[in-house]
Symmetry: C2
Subunit: 296 residues, 2 copies
């Protein structure tokens, strides 16, 4: 069985015509062969959305939450609404098709399709995930970089698409290069008015005493699927949870902090802008065990 | 002869290996068939750059300037430097392959390639252009929309890639939808600190008395190829030219203004945020005649 698989959806949205009236809902194709048009607006304009979903023991994690967020991103970009049942079917089939065993991940992508055509393009890509177990213990060195936007652009300027998971991720790749240049592994974005936002591919979660907190949505911050699960876990430990807008200087006074995401899970922050950051190995281990348990 | 053609480059950068040791520099392929991998970072992350070049009578306009800007965008994204000679050859061949006659345009695209592979992907797409001759006379209704960034992010936060022509254009597509919702045709971006920047696919040029002005580069604004040509033209008329940072309210007091771009050329602004804007039909006609003459 293959270590990566690709399924192309025939009708990614019920609001748009299928690509082929007689074809099945999705088709497995060779991921090593070209499958996209050079005129696809996903490729020429980054005009589309995606979700990355982690897989353990053949089961996708938080699939409902991911599909809801996929639909929410589509709404923000005014894309035809994803047919969630069709995507669910293709995602589960792609996982089944994958060689079992290792940690895996699935990426669902919906683009506006070829310019001038009314049919969006949709595909599901599934592959084995790199092993993140050391990072979950050793942590990541993080630098704070300006995201350029005020913290409230999601409400003042919805056309900036803050809070949507779009294919226009060139900036998220550029900040990762800047982090490496600064001797760090990852990034926390700050708003132009000085608040902690999120990582380029993660949510910021921090501990202060008996509370587990996150800057919260509505700040151009993605609705974190993994963060939501972590809050359930923290509450089961008797911790309080909540949302708090804070500055990087205030974050630096916290008792511990993590970058949390679907595939890497909870990566403790070991340094912030070159300064050692306190870690909470017991809570980190509990968090990651809990998140891994959800995959089974 | 076809109304659109697609050429895939074998070695878009001399700094990276070719896709096929034995293949020619570029190959014409069927633009209606899939040519890109679903794992290409251009499609999954908007991680690449482009240039749109206008063509008249089989000749690309300002090709040198476009290639320089292409290379400058590549540098900002830390992509392998485009082999300008290879791109020039593919662009000229694509134009030759196109059915002659109508106004045409060429798009050059360079992506970071398939994730984990060291070879960038490059293609040249050429097609007949829509007829913009009425717009050059009748003008466009424009609204001012917040770009979210301060005017100086290009210098303070280079990782935001302001001033690079990237494939991450979802926001530029979203503002066009917002403009249509407001009964307008196009957009001028303003900075979060209140200055006029540029259009999503154009440069802002305005007239005040005997001066032709533009907000200028270094503001996260693209180095406008068409604007540079217009300044030559204005100087030939005895006008002064220059750069000036100004607010939308100050722009509204100008004698005339245009959104200028490679394919549509100089589109006079006929209204700004719903208020009629003065037009200078004589200067508009002269500008567009001059720009068209450069194609011959």
């Amino acid at each position: 069985m293959p270590h990566h698989v690709l399924a192309m959806l025939n009708q990614p949205s019920a609001d748009a015509p299928p690509h082929d009236e007689d074809a099945p809902a999705f088709e497995f194709v060779d991921p090593e062969r070209p499958q996209l048009s050079a005129m696809d607006l996903g490729a020429t304009r980054g005009d589309g959305i995606f979700e990355s979903i982690s897989v353990g023991d053949g089961k996708p994690q938080a699939l409902d939450h991911h599909l809801r967020r996929f639909t929410s991103s589509a709404r923000k970009l005014e894309l035809p609404a994803p047919d969630e049942a069709a995507w669910r079917e293709a995602i589960l089939a792609a996982i089944d098709e994958l060689q079992p065993g290792a940690e895996a991940w699935v990426k669902a992508v919906l683009t506006r399709g070829v310019e001038g055509d009314s049919r969006p393009t949709g595909w599901v890509y599934a592959a084995h995930a790199p092993d993140h177990s050391r990072t979950r213990i050793d942590g990541v060195r993080v630098v704070v970089l300006d995201r350029g936007y005020r913290h409230d652009v999601e409400t003042t300027s919805p056309w900036l698409l803050a809070g949507a998971k779009t294919l226009s991720y060139a900036v998220n790749r550029a900040v990762a290069r800047e982090a490496h240049r600064r001797g760090a592994d990852d990034v926390i974005f700050s708003s132009s008015d000085g608040y902690v936002l999120e990582g380029p591919t993660s949510t910021v979660v921090f501990q202060r005493g008996n509370a587990l907190l996150t800057p919260g949505t509505g700040l151009g911050i993605l609705d974190g699927t993994t963060q939501a699960n972590l809050f359930h876990y923290a509450e089961s430990l008797g911790m309080t949870t909540g949302f708090e807008l804070l500055t990087p200087a205030e974050l630096a006074k916290g008792d511990a902090a993590w970058l949390v995401s679907s595939v890497r899970l909870a990566a403790p922050i070991r340094s912030l802008d070159g300064v050692d950051f306190p870690m909470n190995p017991v809570l980190s281990a509990g968090m990651n065990e809990y998140l891994l348990s959800l995959r089974h």
